[in-house]
Symmetry: C2
Subunit: 711 residues, 2 copies
């Protein structure tokens, strides 16, 4: 070793190493740079609505904490006796939402219910679950976690890990042996999962490194076989292995995906003329008081959340009498589980829990105007707290836009013969709220789409980069043993490792009020009785109301199909049908891992596609509140094992949307978006088709447009 | 009976009865009105491209028969000896496509392969399957069908049935007993299915009637319990039953869905401002020679077909070297099976086969501009033959448009920290070809959507009217026996009968050439070996190539998942992966009926979701060529029972998309569109992401628009 460690450290920390903090970016981004509020001029997409964050005032019981509130909380915590000698690291700091009954009782003009914050902080090896009362200006709750799991790692933890790493002779030897210039070294700290008692009682980071030589797409250039586990509290290496020196680092050729660098590169990539959804009379939605969206017959509250990304609350739709009727009290992505399918030492632990370990809001970058979201989008900023407890703004992380796709709301044609020459068709216009979480390599596009017919579609799109594995094989002809391959070759020396994605949605449905029931409407084949009919068989819908949680643990079956209704047993349609909504799964995938495999224990919410639980404020995160290194003792499966009563109760519906991903060459070096969705759909909620009277589009409604270039 | 039959007949046939011919509309519409070519002035949507149909010349081997060609065929048939005394009824008359090798060998500028027509005609109780050679001007083939099944019914058959009906005392009594004014009587001839030997050897119609009093939406006003089976050849009633005189005809209140009549009616139906997909530089696609669509990197042939609706042929996508590579030789909807789930006498037989019994092109009405299809759509006409062999034009039945929905083609964000401040996103633009078949009550929206990344999405949307059953029950409180109910109450006295829809797509994939193989890539759970890994389990992709048809009869399983690839074993990617496409199912449903139930025997294609067969020109219609009253002796299941070899052969992929439909009040009186889709997606077909170099949208690309009203 010729290079003194101190020089390496200098090079690495101050100039060269791009430490990708894999979600806790606001720490690096703002905390480390000693700026708490990011300058607006660094954002190249226009900011539509965030000029007043410095003096924001909450106007609705569910409004997120404001900058003044976060500052006040920091003051309260600073004065809190246990933290007087040392301020803890703040892992999450967000609104402690008032009890549901308080929120439901609140009306515009009323004073807000008491504002409280939930703070998860870490100090001296202990996780504090704090409640801070903003009105009383005191810490009203401080529970030290005794269960498993840690809060998310902070920048300090990660800096520590890298310092430890870089003072390690073996690590330096490995990097030099690969011929990687330290200027090109990029290291990331994937979460370590939990795999039995070996790593218990330690907060650990498992560092993985890449070369960014000749490409910003370092994900495609892994330094394979080098894995280091660091204990960030003891500041020591727990384990270092390097089994990959004979595995080449894949070339960076053709992996750069930036438009500015690719534009001179000419190939057959198709071009189409630009298009734009134009609205001559302007968009039809408004955003009131910062977070209340009104559009067509819908009104709902929306906010960015550091962990869940988008939270939709109090979604209500207008009835024929003009009153708004409750559909959903709260809906959000609760956890996102991504198990990779490679049992090797360097890979087995990759079973990410992206919401709880990294945060879907924390990893949401500013959206790219016109490309991530169409023209006329409304952009919303995230106001979050940094690891030091100071507020910061993540601009433009949600966009809201109206959509017209050329799809049809309803239609019918009759034959233009005597009497009924009818051709009626109504266009479909929807409202979309979107956020994209860039959780390291992957980009998750979350869409909440509202239709005037009452339908809500929740769609998840996957793009970004594969998590790839380097291999000596350049092509499939020189593969000696396909058992080595945990996925297909997607480029020379690059394996696209097979993996799954499971996104669990917490859907606190309140159909016409909090107390609802869950019914499975099973389609059952009946045989006709002898002589009854020339038909031998037919289907009958058998409705069964779930009494307890066990009745509502659903695995979808193509050959034993059901509809799944959440309904209000106290509210009937004009005809006496219970008013309800059904959840309509689309394409999905199930987890096939052993139920006692550690990742599956922690992500046991993916054991079923549907669960129903009684509303419980402490049961929001399907993989647990403290997910890092958790043992799965605080999951949806654990809560629901109590088999509580769920009939005519305030219930929460959980749906897990799944994807299996066997990569292919088209996914290299950046993946075309793959998406899937599910729907919440009214079923006897309305007395008739609610868009029966919708207007057609007429020629006179359309704009007169010309190309900008002609101006 | 006070009214003489002759007067009734006059009233009914000349003025009052709207005979909905349930698909054979062109017969009624044109044949009966003694006009073979519809005047352009009767169409209120603009016609963009059909001025020259009178002199159309085929320019591509797959171009549909032209008006001059249809006229010539009629002359040839008129001179054909067996038809010299009596011209047969023409059931279908369409291009007999040249052999695939001839089509593949043909290049623009070459003379066309010989033009031939396939004609199905009916005369004196016999079905003739004729081949007509246009160049030789002779009938070169005349096979009289000896299997089961008849061609579609003609107008004459239906007129016969109604005449027979109206001379029947019991029928007249029933109508009078219901108090229905003959002016309001609407009768339709649903297909009768096949239910054993009782009805063998007869061509029968099962007539069902409605009242259109106070509403054009007569479908919501069934005259329940009155069913008449007519032998159209013997001109006699086979069976008449009326068990429903105590069942009221549901009221027409609030069933009219026409904008012009509803606009004075005020309710809370939401309004949104109009939107339009604007293209300042114009659409990016062209339609050459009437049927060849070129867009972005795609080129394909498209034509309307009387039976299949849209046929897409020779879909090819441009490779990096600029050459077009074959993806699909031919894709179309082959059959559409709709079994209703009511074993009662009046309902058991309802198990429609809409493509073969009614025709998806035959029931396609002119699209409603701006509402069925967005601005800047290109409209294509259907040129078909009437029952008398004369040509007619069905205008604007296909539209083609470019689509921008605000969705994202691919994207990735990095943290804007040192080195990699990257936020790249590419908009998604697609091309859609659409047709809507109004098969009686239901409207089926067929979309073929092409993406620049090589993906083809095939989507089916369902709208229109429910097929409902009248009941004495006004609301659910007075239902004495739910066993009577074959579906939920959707309005007073109206049951929405539970039913399914299964659409089978014929997908003749030619990945880089005709000879392809089919592989199931099964994701299998593997257990780790003791000591191998802290993980207990992982998934492994096991690829198995199908040798014979039995290997490719696939029932989808959520807990035993696979990818399904069609690939070219002779063509490899840069890395040696076989070049292929996979079929990606979305939300779907399976048929649960007994395999030996008559409707299921006839629609046995729905026994599996996926089948693969060797290409065979005579195996195009999954439910058989002659579907009316067929016994299921000519179905995909029968052909495929031979278990032929399919490895490295010219193979056809079949996919059946399914829907279960348990109606609800929102479906009354016209259904908001429900849709589902599946995808054909490249898998190692391209050497990398084919849209890596796609351009972002820039502000300068967008149009400057103003509302028309300001002009």
């Amino acid at each position: 070793m010729k290079i003194p460690y101190c020089i390496q450290l200098f090079i690495i920390i101050s100039i060269a190493v791009f430490i990708y903090v894999y979600s806790r970016n606001q720490h690096l981004n703002f905390g480390c740079r000693k700026t708490n509020l990011r300058s607006r001029s660094t954002i190249d997409t226009p900011v539509h609505n965030s000029d007043h964050h410095f003096t924001d005032t909450p106007l609705h019981p569910l409004d997120p904490l404001t900058i003044p509130e976060i500052n006040k909380i920091r003051s309260i915590l600073s004065a809190y006796e246990p933290f007087s000698s040392s301020f803890p690291s703040i892992n999450t700091l967000s609104l402690d939402e008032p009890d549901k009954c308080q929120v439901l009782a609140w009306k515009p003009g009323d004073p807000l219910p008491p504002r409280r914050a939930s703070v998860i902080s870490f100090l001296d090896g202990q996780t504090h679950l704090l409640t801070v009362d903003l009105d009383l200006a005191v810490v009203t709750g401080d529970v030290v976690n005794v269960g498993s799991g840690y809060p998310m790692l902070t920048t300090e933890d990660l800096t520590t890990a890298l310092e430890v790493l870089l003072t390690n002779l073996d690590f330096n030897k490995s990097i030099l042996a690969r011929g990687v210039d330290f200027n090109d070294l990029v290291c990331i700290p994937p979460s370590s999962g939990w795999f039995g008692p070996d790593e218990d009682g330690k907060r650990i980071v498992k560092v993985q490194c890449f070369s960014s030589q000749n490409t910003p797409n370092y994900y495609m250039r892994p330094i394979e076989g080098l894995r280091v586990t660091v204990d960030v509290d003891k500041r020591e290496i727990v384990k270092i292995t390097d089994t990959g020196r004979d595995i080449p680092i894949p070339e960076g050729t053709n992996t750069d995906y930036r438009y500015t660098t690719r534009s001179p590169f000419s190939d057959m990539t198709p071009e189409t003329n630009p298009m734009s959804m134009e609205q001559p009379k302007g968009p039809s939605f408004t955003v009131e008081n910062g977070h209340t969206v009104k559009w067509a017959n819908w009104v709902f509250h929306i906010k960015p959340d550091i962990r869940a990304g988008i939270i939709i609350s109090q979604a209500m739709i207008r009835a024929e009498n003009g009153e708004y009727r409750s559909v959903m009290y709260k809906g959000f992505a609760s956890e996102l589980y991504v198990p990779y399918m490679d049992p090797d030492q360097g890979w087995y632990y990759k079973s990410y829990m992206d919401a709880g370990e990294f945060g879907l809001g924390a990893t949401a970058m500013p959206l790219v105007e016109l490309n991530d979201c169409p023209r006329y989008s409304y952009y919303m900023d995230g106001v979050f707290a940094s690891a030091d407890g100071r507020p910061f703004i993540q601009p433009n992380i949600i966009c809201i836009f109206e959509r017209f796709t050329g799809d049809i709301g309803w239609r019918h044609s009759e034959i233009p013969a005597m009497g009924f020459d009818i051709r009626e068709s109504r266009p479909k216009t929807t409202l979309v709220a979107r956020m994209v979480a860039s959780v390291g390599n992957y980009d998750y596009i979350f869409d909440w789409e509202f239709q005037t017919d009452g339908l809500i579609r929740i769609k998840v799109g996957l793009s970004g980069m594969l998590m790839v594995k380097a291999t000596p094989y350049e092509n499939i002809y020189n593969i000696s043993n396909t058992d080595d391959m945990s996925g297909p070759l997607v480029s020379e020396n690059v394996i696209g490792v097979v993996h799954d994605h499971f996104i669990s949605f917490h859907l606190d449905m309140d159909i016409d009020g909090p107390n609802n029931s869950f019914a499975e409407v099973n389609l059952v084949k009946e045989e006709t009785r002898p002589g009854q009919s020339p038909r031998k068989s037919y289907l009958k819908a058998i409705r069964k109301v779930a009494k307890t949680e066990d009745d509502a643990k659903i695995k979808l079956k193509l050959y034993d199909p059901s509809e799944f209704h959440v309904f209000n047993p106290a509210k009937r349609s004009r005809l006496g049908n219970p008013t309800g909504y059904k959840i309509v799964p689309g394409g999905t995938a199930a987890s096939l891992l052993d139920l006692d495999d550690p990742p599956q224990i922690r992500a046991a919410f993916s054991n079923n596609q549907i669960w129903v639980t009684p509303h419980n404020k402490s049961e929001e995160w399907a993989g647990g509140l403290l997910v890092s290194q958790s043992k799965g003792d605080d999951t949806l499966a654990v809560w629901s094992a109590r088999n509580r009563e769920i009939e005519n109760k305030d219930i929460v519906l959980w749906y897990t949307l799944g994807f299996h991903h066997i990569p292919c060459q088209e996914d290299f070096p950046v993946m075309p978006t793959v998406s899937s969705s599910f729907e919440l759909k009214p079923v006897n909620f309305f007395d008739r088709n609610p868009i029966l009277n919708a207007k057609p589009i007429f020629q006179k409604d359309l704009p007169v447009c010309s190309a900008t270039s002609s101006y």
